[in-house]
């Protein structure tokens, strides 16, 4: 019998059959059609695939589905509620903290993970926490500003 992997995805209980070697990234993109989580490098370098797992920002390209069993996963699609933007998303929009937008979901999820841990970060803590998320378009300054302003309104 095929083993089922059960976990919570954006607040809903879900399960899928275990496929050997499947990563969380491709399960999200292909089994659940949640394509907001992006493939940028596949090897843990860029952060475009970042999601929240049990309250922590993780890179979904490096996590196999076996390790997702029983976990709570939040993706970019789970951030806005009834179409209303999450404060971190709102801050990104208001600060125009994106250009091509391909790194954006990963940036937002990583920022959210950072704020879950450190609700009122200093600028240095934000830089530190975001350091390994890559943006080729150079939206960096605005991303930092957006996170700073989100930290002021976000209630964790």
């Amino acid at each position: 019998m095929v083993k089922q992997i059960k976990f919570e995805l954006n607040g809903k209980k879900v399960e899928i059959p275990l496929e050997a070697g499947q990563s969380l990234l491709w399960a999200l993109r292909n089994n659940f059609n949640l394509t907001g989580t992006k493939y940028g490098c596949g090897e843990d370098y860029c952060g475009a695939c970042t999601v929240i797992m049990d309250g922590e920002a993780v890179r979904s390209c490096g996590i196999t589905m076996e390790d997702v069993s029983g976990k709570k996963i939040t993706t970019i699609e789970g951030m806005s509620v009834n179409g209303k933007l999450h404060p971190v998303q709102q801050a990104f929009v208001e600060h125009d903290a994106l250009q091509c937008g391909f790194c954006t979901p990963g940036m937002i999820m990583n920022a959210y993970g950072l704020l879950l841990k450190t609700p009122h970060p200093t600028r240095e803590q934000i830089i530190d926490g975001m350091e390994d998320n890559l943006c080729r378009c150079g939206a960096h300054t605005r991303i930092l500003d957006a996170i700073e302003s989100a930290s002021k309104v976000l209630k964790i």
């Binding site: 292909n30 951030m79 250009q99 150079g138």
Partner: protein
């Protein structure tokens, strides 16, 4: 007025929502007013050259449609890759047509729906397509006024338009909306356009700042890039790749891969692909394919390539020549000879090259992350031996391009595989493939001999550019005896090279501005004074003065120990000047950029905030090629495979960024490129000013900095 913020709270309709071909297109848009025109005569410069290589469609193209609810749909062959035309174009359309911004929708980058376009590059959207579009819209406005006049029974001269409503000037309640005019009709107008659009003084929406029209969709993760589309029965293709450029496939044994469940193999000449509905399964199966190659590689690597370039037989072309070099030498008091090198760099957009091909009857349709949907259509048609009418290419949102997606190899691959199998095929390159097949910015050598006379004026400028590309190679300074020679040749590089954000100009500006600063230092002049003294172009002088103001420049001769640098240049119609402050760690050779100021003049600025964002992006991205980015290789073997061995700028690098966009009532120019050209030069000059070490090669890695410091001591 300029800080007016605006953003839309719904996902803007973009090409992904249009699933129809042109026949259905008219049906889909229903009734309404269709405005057609011929684009050919408006194509200028690069775009025109590219267009000539393809027979331009002789027919008129739909360009603008006004539907019964007043929605104005603007169709252009350009694509959105983060440069922001999805925001600035509606501003132009709404402003020219006097219709609300919210009523304008863009359909972009679809070869079947949009008028031919040579490609989105060279900052041409605003400066080249912009005026054409405005002329068309001015004409369309005339058509609407005529219809309004018929409808209201009032002469055109007595009518005015505001917010998509035509009304009688002295009787405002006598009116009719665009939508109503279009109601129940299908009106087709064919325009022969004479450019005549509004004057700057009439602009209401242009010149104001707006946040990205696609910001919300992107922040929600809803904006669809090529890899986000799904189709029933879609298979991922993983393609067998050679270990290096110059290797040819001799044999491939796919038997082990075939044993895996759900795997199928597609093979067409040199193209060997493993297909599976699960991308990771396809990847795993590909690893089981055994292949043999024969090698015919160039004997050159990232160290020896500069010597190789100078020895390679090339064709010399004089780009520009004034006065006489021998006279220049005789009249010079000080002469300086230098040789600069620039390394190969990758585009490295975070979205890898992606394409989804599928059949629609006998037509091949390909969604692709490409900056040149029409070029890709040509390429696919040629490869498959099909007519253009049997190939459709659609470019959805692109996750960055920078010139790297002017190439469309992945689109051709998807087209071939879908034609072969009849199935929807997704080709998504790994990061390694994206580096391997990237059209790198070419490595280059620049040689300059220059001189100054007794009065401190530049008297000689003999400039030789090898393989950088001629863009930005003319001197911007006022020199009586100057000559620029450009050298080019086929197959000088072991792999593909091509346009990289402001092609040629990053290398040329680095070399020119380094040389200028060295000349100033040699005669003990302040580098700002020296530039101002040798410039005639008022717009260049304008940006230099503006940046000096912004930065707080005080005169000193270099090296002053302050770590201040200057560079200025001209690209794509825009003028830029940068100043930077750096700290150099003399023990480790590490450079810390403290601040960068930039003044830019792009003529009239449609969306000042959008332009500022492009400029910030240029400064940030530009630090990469200046400090770390360098493709490593041995022959055709590209050692750069992922971001682990190719370092992009990161958050901790960020300097304080100060920008100023100077407004000018001149034709608007594109802002996606000029701001990056000075980054190599300004940082090299700042390093020199900090410690007296002159760097002749980019990127300025710690090793190179230490080497240069050792030479000073």
């Amino acid at each position: 007025m300029k800080d007016n913020k605006y953003y839309r709270d719904e996902v803007p309709e973009n090409n992904p929502t249009f699933e129809v071909d042109r026949r259905d297109f008219v049906k889909l848009l229903g009734g309404g007013l269709f405005i057609y025109f011929q684009l050919g005569e408006f194509l200028t410069g690069v775009a025109a050259e590219a267009a000539q290589q393809r027979s331009l469609p002789k027919d008129y193209n739909a360009f603008l449609h006004i539907s019964e609810d007043g929605t104005v749909t603007c169709l252009i062959g350009k694509i959105e890759m983060g440069q922001g035309i999805i925001t600035s174009f509606p501003q132009m359309v709404a402003d020219e047509l006097d219709t609300p911004l919210e009523s304008v929708k863009m359909v972009m980058g679809d070869t079947e729906l949009c008028p031919y376009d040579a490609g989105t590059w060279g900052s041409l959207s605003t400066r080249s397509l912009g005026p054409a579009l405005m002329a068309v819209i001015a004409e369309a406005r005339g058509v609407l006024l005529n219809l309004g006049s018929e409808n209201l029974g009032v002469a055109v001269e007595e009518l005015a338009i505001e917010n998509g409503v035509i009304f009688v000037k002295n009787k405002k309640n006598k009116k009719i909306g665009f939508g109503q005019l279009a109601q129940g009709k299908k009106i087709e107008k064919y325009l022969d356009v004479k450019p005549k659009a509004k004057d700057f003084s009439e602009y209401k929406i242009r010149g104001k700042s707006f946040t990205h029209a696609d910001g919300i969709a992107k922040a929600k993760g809803e904006a669809q890039y090529t890899g986000d589309f799904r189709m029933p029965g879609m298979l991922y293709a993983k393609i067998l790749r050679p270990p290096s450029h110059g290797a040819t496939l001799v044999s491939a044994d796919t038997s082990e891969a075939e044993k895996l469940e759900g795997i199928s193999i597609a093979r067409d000449k040199e193209l060997v692909a493993v297909l599976h509905r699960d991308i990771e399964k396809a990847e795993a199966a590909l690893a089981k394919v055994k292949a043999e190659y024969k090698f015919d590689e160039m004997k050159v690597d990232d160290q020896t390539v500069f010597k190789h370039m100078l020895e390679f037989p090339s064709e010399a072309r004089v780009v520009k020549s004034t006065g006489d070099i021998a006279t220049g030498k005789n009249s010079s008091n000080q002469i300086l000879e230098s040789e600069f090198h620039n390394s190969y760099v990758a585009h490295a957009a975070i979205e890898p090259h992606t394409a989804l091909g599928f059949m629609e009857g006998d037509k091949v349709v390909v969604r692709a992350s490409t900056q040149t949907p029409f070029g890709a259509q040509d390429g696919i048609a040629r490869e498959l031996g099909l007519g253009l009418d049997k190939v459709r290419v659609i470019a959805p949102f692109l996750g960055g391009g920078f010139g790297g997606k002017t190439m469309f190899r992945q689109a051709v691959e998807a087209a071939r595989l879908t034609k072969l199998t009849g199935k929807p095929i997704m080709v998504l390159w790994t990061r390694k493939e994206s580096f391997f097949y990237d059209n790198f910015r070419p490595g280059a050598v620049i040689k300059i001999t220059s001189g100054t006379d007794k009065s401190g004026k530049i008297s000689l400028w003999d400039y030789h550019e090898y393989f950088a590309g001629a863009r930005g190679s003319d001197t911007i300074y006022d020199v009586p005896n100057a000559k620029t020679t450009s050298y080019s040749a086929r197959n000088v590089h072991p792999f593909l090279t091509g346009a990289w954000r402001a092609p040629g100009n990053n290398t040329n500006t680095f070399a020119r501005e380094s040389q200028i600063e060295m000349m100033a230092a040699k005669i003990g002049a302040d580098p700002l004074d020296f530039r101002l003294k040798n410039l005639k172009d008022e717009r260049m002088i304008g940006v230099l003065k503006a940046v000096a103001d912004l930065f707080g420049w005080t005169p000193a001769k270099s090296p002053s120990g302050r770590g201040y640098g200057i560079a200025c240049g001209f690209d794509a119609g825009g003028y830029v000047a940068h100043m930077a402050e750096v700290k150099v760690d003399q023990k480790t050779g590490k450079i810390k950029v403290i601040r960068v100021a930039c003044a830019e003049e792009l003529g009239f600025c449609i969306n000042p905030q959008g332009a500022t964002i492009q400029l910030e992006g240029c400064i940030t991205m530009g630090m990469g090629y200046a400090l770390t980015e360098e493709v490593k290789f041995t022959g055709g073997d590209v050692h750069t495979t992922n971001f682990g061995n190719y370092q992009l700028p990161q958050f901790s690098w960020l300097p304080k960024i100060q920008t100023k966009i100077l407004d000018k009532n001149e034709a608007p120019q594109g802002g996606g490129e000029p701001g990056i050209i000075c980054m190599g030069g300004v940082l090299a000059n700042a390093v020199y000013d900090a410690c007296g070490a002159r760097l002749y090669q980019l990127p300025m890695t710690p090793e190179r900095v230490l080497e240069a410091i050792a030479k000073v001591k």
